[in-house]
Amino acid sequence: MSSIHLIPRVIERDVRILFSDTFLVGIMFANFCIDLFVTAATFGNLIGSSYFLRIAPGSNLITAMVAAFQSGRDIWREKYIKDLASYLLTLPVSRRLFVTSRIVGGVARSLVVTVPGTLVISYLYGVLFSPRLFEAFVIVALFSLGIVGLSIAVSAFASTIEVFATVRSAIQLYLSFLSTIFYDVSLFPAIVQPIVQTNPMTWAMQAFRALQSQGSTLYPIAVLVGPSLAFALLGALCYLWYTRL
């Protein structure tokens, strides 16, 4: 069997690992519901109904972020808990191809977990029954690509689960609060604005908002590609670094 044929197997394995505990998938959906129907709805009441629609995609992207970080957590568990890393490296596939498959697998998992959320947001934005629904999935996939890369990078360096969880929390804080989920970039102090403008969450949110306003998503998606590919590359390099002989 050629190496290329193993890629779908690796991706399938990652998706199967996710569904080995369907309860976990259910809980991630419950998290999305709490974020959207409690937090976002409350801020909608506090600030204005249009604000609810403005921040709604944030709930789905936060779920995508949590799902994407599970990929890194699973790789960490394979390395330190299940002692599977050595076995996986004996598979007849090059390491570059293997890590690429793991990243694609992570994106696939994230997309699967966020299907209900993406559909709900698309319904709220009036694109559920239009071809633009495809764009919503592209945004989630691109955003997840970067986060999967980051989570794999963290898993390569974290020696304990506490370190992994701490770095994950710090990244999640950066993605959630130093982005335009809740407020416009102009509200941030000038010194923080470059951090907000380079945040992939900012551009994923902008892309979703373009869907709502029936505008073009091309520009925000084009910008989102930059950090997402950079983080994915970082994840791949870190993975290759820790698996070197």
């Binding site: 505990d21 419950a30 409690v38 009441n45 506090l46 701490t166 609060f177 407020y183």
Partner: protein
């Protein structure tokens, strides 16, 4: 994380004095020491609190025009929700101890089960307080809460919610078996208890379906009672009574489930 054992340097230490309070404190002291052996948790939660307060609350309160001084409301609520979140950590420790076999060792200690269980809950609550007090101090300075009696009342409310959530966390830790599930159940419970409450959002602005549940959330009791102590002229007896009921119920449940797991169903 929880593999801390107390080294016996003197054989007389093998027999712990029979005073209940000393036994409780001994167990509680161990749990407090455990928290400080895991600085990563303290770092991540502190960072979360600081960003939540100085970035999120500061910016969002500029957008909230329908509720006057939302920053103050949110700041007090952030302390209450943080103390609740930290109190959940005891469950992780207890779960890990059972998985790693450390629980067997702990049960060989010459400490009655009742003192052991209450000591665990007390240790969980005290360490949550130790961790949260610097954050509470930041909020007190920022919002100019200077009345010693008010501060004392608010601290008591925070301790009560910490004690109750510790009981809840112990209950979950000894009833859920799978490690993965336990992680997410506790995280979801933390999120649900905090968000479906008035700690961070005023009751009138919650969606209708949450408004029905929120008044019964322990975090609501703690949030309302703490706010009344700090900002209101009166003592919120109803919220304090609700908070006390929560403590009694979940400490009782936690103790019962923990005891059943330890002793295979016999309750002494």
């Amino acid at each position: 994380m929880s593999s801390l054992t107390t080294r016996v340097t003197n054989s007389s230490e093998l027999w712990v004095p029979s005073s209940s309070s000393k036994l409780l404190l001994q167990i509680a002291r161990r749990d407090i020491a455990t928290l400080f052996r895991t600085p990563w948790i303290i770092i991540s939660r502190s960072l979360a609190f600081i960003i939540q307060l100085f970035v999120f609350a500061y910016l969002i309160s500029g957008l909230v025009l329908s509720y006057p001084d939302y920053f103050r409301y949110y700041a007090v609520g952030a302390v209450v929700s943080t103390v609740a979140s930290i109190s959940f950590i005891i469950g992780y420790d207890i779960f890990e101890e059972a998985e790693e076999g450390l629980l067997d060792y702990l049960l060989t200690l010459p400490i009655p089960r009742r003192e052991f269980i209450i000591g665990r809950a007390l240790g969980g609550a005290i360490r949550a307080m130790i961790y949260t007090i610097p954050m509470f101090a930041i909020v007190a300075v920022l919002e100019n809460f200077a009345n010693p009696l008010s501060l004392l009342g608010a601290t008591l409310d925070l301790f009560l919610i910490a004690f109750g959530v510790t009981g809840l966390s112990i209950t979950v830790a000894v009833t859920v078996r799978s490690a993965n599930r336990f992680d997410v159940v506790l995280a979801l419970l933390d999120l649900a208890v905090t968000r479906a409450s008035t700690a961070l959002y005023p009751l009138n602005f919650l969606p209708g379906y949450v408004k029905i549940l929120a008044p019964f959330s322990p975090v609501t009791f703690a949030g309302d009672s703490t706010r009344a102590a700090l900002t209101g002229p009166s003592f919120d007896a109803l919220s304090t009574a609700g908070l006390l009921a929560f403590v009694v119920i979940f400490l009782g449940l936690g103790a019962t489930f923990y005891f059943r797991r330890l002793e295979g169903g016999v309750y002494a």
